[in-house]
Amino acid sequence: MSIKIENLTYVYNPGSPFETKALEDINIEIESGEFIGLIGHTGSGKSTLIQHLNGLIKPTSGKIVINGIDITEKTVKLSDIRRKVGLVFQYPEHQLFEETVYKDIAFGPQNLGLSETEIDQRVREAMELVKLPFDELRDRSPFELSGGQKRRVAIAGVFAMKPEVLVLDEPTSGLDPRTRDEVLDEIKTLHDRYKNTVILVSHSMEDVAKLVDRVIVMHNGKVIFSGTPREVFKETETLESIGLGVPQISYLVKALKKKNINLREDIFTVEEAKEEILKWIRSNKNV
């Protein structure tokens, strides 16, 4: 499921005094199976961009080609697009509505017109992926669950549609650190298992860094740069100037360099920093 976005521009309220350019000349290519991190400050346009991918918004100009089909063409059926591109919004637990966890997760697959057996399988698989015990929770009301569990039910509801492209808008917002790590892990598992294309929108650099193949950075409706996490995190000044933070480790590397302690510049995890510092200490001892 490759995605090609060509010269995409989106303008809110065109022709009125409230006219705003939310997206300007976006060009992005995503290979099938890639795990992409989309980063940007609030107002950078990332939410607007992802809503174009499943046809919720139509561009003012430009094209979006998903697997060879231009989804901006009038003839394209939205239901077909939504089959292929799944979107998990921020605070997805706000969309829960059914009487039981099972029924809520089944909502998506039902709308796809699948058979009962197929739906059952999808619900089981989805619950397993988000580590919710099937037998224990299937008949519970989603509203009785804890915040973290509700979040998982909501995400499972989109997982169950088995989209070839999965877009998640800040899936860890409001979660405490442990739950956050678990949810990100579950997303990684999904990606590894189904090899689908996953786009993770976030403003946490740390979350994104550990999971994604490539990072795309947006600011003021434009793509500023894209590259592997290591390539992007080196640009601490640029990232700071557009209101994004980098992991403390990246700052540490820069600060140490000023003191003539040279570590590898592209590290950003504690593990890597430990290795690099130990290497430096040992090499120092040998001098």
């Binding site: 917002s173 409001g174 405490d176 540490l252 130990l278």
Partner: protein, 279 residues
Amino acid sequence: MPEMIDIQDIQFYYKNDMEETTLALKDITITVEPGEFIVIIGHNGSGKSTLAKHMNALLLPTKGEVFVKGFNTKDEAHVWDIRQNAGMVFQNPDNQLVATIVEEDVAFGPENLGVPPVEIRKRVDEALNVVDMSEYRDKAPHLLSGGQKQRIAIAGIIAMRPNCIIFDEPTAMLDPSGRREVIRTIKKLNKEENITIVHITHFMEEAVNADRVIVMGDGQIVLEGKPKEVFSKVEQLKELGLDVPQMTDLTNELIKEGIDLPQDILTVDEMVMELCQLK
């Protein structure tokens, strides 16, 4: 001057829809002195929000007593004194704002207290100034960003002239810049306006500047002390499901490898200094 908040060995049970009782708080004793900046950290479900609501009589303990500026929270006659003295800012920025115009929302608290109109006007102007939102005085709340809404909520509390403000996870629903705005405001309130602060959160980095950190787990106090003392207990914090700043984590890892570093490094600058000394 007596303690601002005095929590004496409290317990709190609650019953859910299925009549099951859960012990949300157990053996909690905390004293908050005037002017202190306390941070209470814990994972979701650790009881920290429940604890917060005991501090302004929104909840009453099943066992034990809570005193706010000398008043017992169980004393119905003084509930309003307690709430005027211990203001509270909640997690959801939207669900605290009641009026259609910013300055009218900030006036809500003083109006409830029966403050004369001219005095209300003065307090509203001052409060908006402290939180840097004076230019938004006649805007509609729904047009503001999360961080701005929270600052208005804070202004609404300041206008009541409390001695103490309790912040119940005020940054949980905000983006990074909103979080920065709110943290900056909280610091200012403590340092410049001398307001006692009780800040409840699950973000470790918000505890760095506290006078004291209290760590909660499963309804009990697990750790307590100055930030450096508490942060250095990296393994324990991780087990409680909490994040440690990368520098503290790194320090812990290096110490495990036999490197001679002080346990309490919190910031990048401290790390750089210590590593340079190793040379």
